[in-house]
Amino acid sequence: MNLHEYQAKALLRKFGAAIPDGENATSPDGAADAARRLGGDVWVVKAQIHAGARAQAGGVRMVSSPEKAAAAARDLLGKHIVTAQTGPEGIAVKSVYVEKACDVEREIYAAIIVHRAKASVVVLVGRESGTGVERTLARRETLFELPFGPDGADQAGIEAMAAFLSIDQDQARKVADMLTQARRAFIELDARLIELNPLALTKTGDVMALDAKMIIDDNAMWRHPELEELRDKDETHPLERAADQFEINYARMDGNIGILTMGAGLGLATMDMIIDEGGHPANFMDVRPMATRDQVAEGIKLLINDNRVKVILVMAVGGGLLHCDTIAEGLGHVFGKTGAAKPVVYYAVGTGKEISELTLKNQGIPVAITDSMEEAVEEAVRIAGSGSA
């Protein structure tokens, strides 16, 4: 689950991390009031959307009076901000975060992640901040890892970080303190990512997180029911939200072949095969091993109701828990009830293959039963490509 900047900052503040004073506002007047309450003479007004590179897209404004804060908010609220990470339609701004500006001497980068191979939480710092900083592996290799022991960051590590960043011991200690708090938040809140970009070294010698990105582990939400209310439902596509309700893994793509597969690996493979064949998947959809007929039916319904989808490709590999016949029953249930007419291409192998094919034939569903994955993919691409694209 992605958190907005204002949410991440409120959480980090609770853990004692140094965050500039700020308030979230949903109206121009609210923004002006926030600026007045915060005090000072310069503020930053920032659009709250789940996407990086906001600044280049005009989503961050420096203002010098409460009235100007209101004007900036008026301009930003309701606006669709398009960045490299949002897709062409952009994301509508529902709130702005008004923050006291601070005198920045230098901006650095910090991130906390779980390192897969080390199976541990690692704290990374970089010499430069910046938008357009991609979290690529190549980038990771240019970062300094601040070592943590059971008692926090050790002196030798802090000294090495000071040398890496070319800052004095005092400042390095403050950076380490900040990251110690953020790391505690990471662990206690089950984060997958905390990114402080930029982390500012101020002219007064302080260390402040000017921006904060935080992602909570979806698999750990049961441990943090209080965080559920922070979820911004508008920023998940309605289809993805619907799929999630039925425990179906769904990711929207921009093509016209609707896919349902048993298993995530098979889903990835099917997408690859479609694209290699010149087709375009409309989605990735994987039903999990414990899926029921009704969950499969709901998945199929999503594809039927998706107007972009010209053909539904179903790949069933029967396993020990989920059998192909459950998939066929789900298909039969939807088509029998709704009388939908979208073409379906079906391939099955493994547990329940024969009975699933019989079920489909007996129910008169407009289904092409194929003998191999290749044939299924070719057929789906052919149907999707015929007629208007």
Partner: protein, 292 residues
């Protein structure tokens, strides 16, 4: 021969009274697996599927001395169940549970270090040596005793490879699901090492996907070992968009991690045969074995 499990492996099921565990334990018993007991707190002293149930793993170990434990408990309790098995020094722990928080796995991996246990999973279909021992959620039917070692992140793609190798009369020595999570137990490199040392395994199949480093580690090992046994690999997710989770938690990673294309390059460079469709795995393996 086979790797890690065979007809002599004594298995307990943690969470044995659960619905899925019951189904899969029944299947295991029907398929000759030597299931010696189960664990379910509060049900100690009873029997389930005609095997004794214990309150704790330690009690089960004392009475039955298992070689392996199958963990079928919900994600909220899975990490503690794994750690309980590690502390009881069970040599092989197989966890099929999906959706375990990643920081729980960090805790489990810390407990695994310096321990006597080896972990398969989580979010894994388990491990099977056909006809001898099955611990997991895989189907029985397409499996047949044979000579191909399979290691896969994905369950359904592994079943497809099993079906192909059975149809081509190659069979499987052992098939292992390393799991779809980002932090997990045994990886491809360790599987390759075990399969290379196994006399019965004539060829190795690796089925990977984008994210993580397991394929690269296996490639480095193959490059160093230059084995005679053919290795056929398939890597899913070549066209998957970066930065989005595609079903398996392990497919999304921060700091980009490794692309499928990079994995394919590394494996080819190490002498593996990389096929571009999961349907070609069995065929490529048969051809490679002919050429030997």
């Amino acid at each position: 021969m086979s790797i890690l499990v065979d007809r002599n492996t004594k298995v307990i099921f943690q969470g044995i009274t659960g619905k899925t565990a019951t189904r899969m334990a029944e299947r295991a018993i029907a398929g000759n697996t030597n299931v010696v007991g189960g664990v379910r707190p509060g049900r100690g002293g009873t029997h389930h599927l005609n095997v004794p149930v214990y309150d704790t793993v330690a009690e089960a170990v004392e009475s039955t001395a298992p070689d392996a434990s199958a963990i079928f408990v919900p994600p909220q309790f899975a990490a503690d169940a794994m750690i309980e098995a590690i502390e009881a020094q069970i040599p092989l722990i197989v966890c099929v549970t999906e959706r375990i928080p990643v920081l729980d796995m960090v805790r489990v991996k810390a407990a695994l270090k310096e321990s006597k246990s080896r972990l398969i999973g989580p979010n894994s279909y388990g491990i099977i040596t056909p006809g001898e021992c099955r611990i997991g959620v895989m189907p029985d039917r397409p499996h047949s005793p044979g000579k191909i070692g399979i290691a896969s992140r994905s369950a359904t793609l592994a079943y497809a490879a099993v079906e192909q190798t059975t149809r081509l009369e190659l069979g499987q020595s052992t098939s292992i699901g390393i799991g779809g999570d980002s932090v997990h137990g045994i990886g491809f490199a360790e599987c390759v090492e075990l399969f290379l040392a196994d006399n019965k395994t004539a060829g190795i199949v690796l089925i990977g996907e984008l994210g993580g480093n397991d394929e690269e580690e296996a490639a480095a090992l193959l490059k160093a070992e230059k084995p005679k046994k053919p290795v056929v690999a398939y890597i899913a997710g070549v066209h998957a968009p970066a930065g989005r989770r595609m079903g398996h938690a392990g497919t999304i990673d921060f700091f980009g991690d490794r692309s499928s294309a990079g994995k394919i390059e590394a494996l080819k460079d190490a002498g593996a045969i990389v096929v571009n469709s999961p349907t070609l795995i069995g065929h490529a393996m048969r051809q490679a074995l002919w050429r030997l």
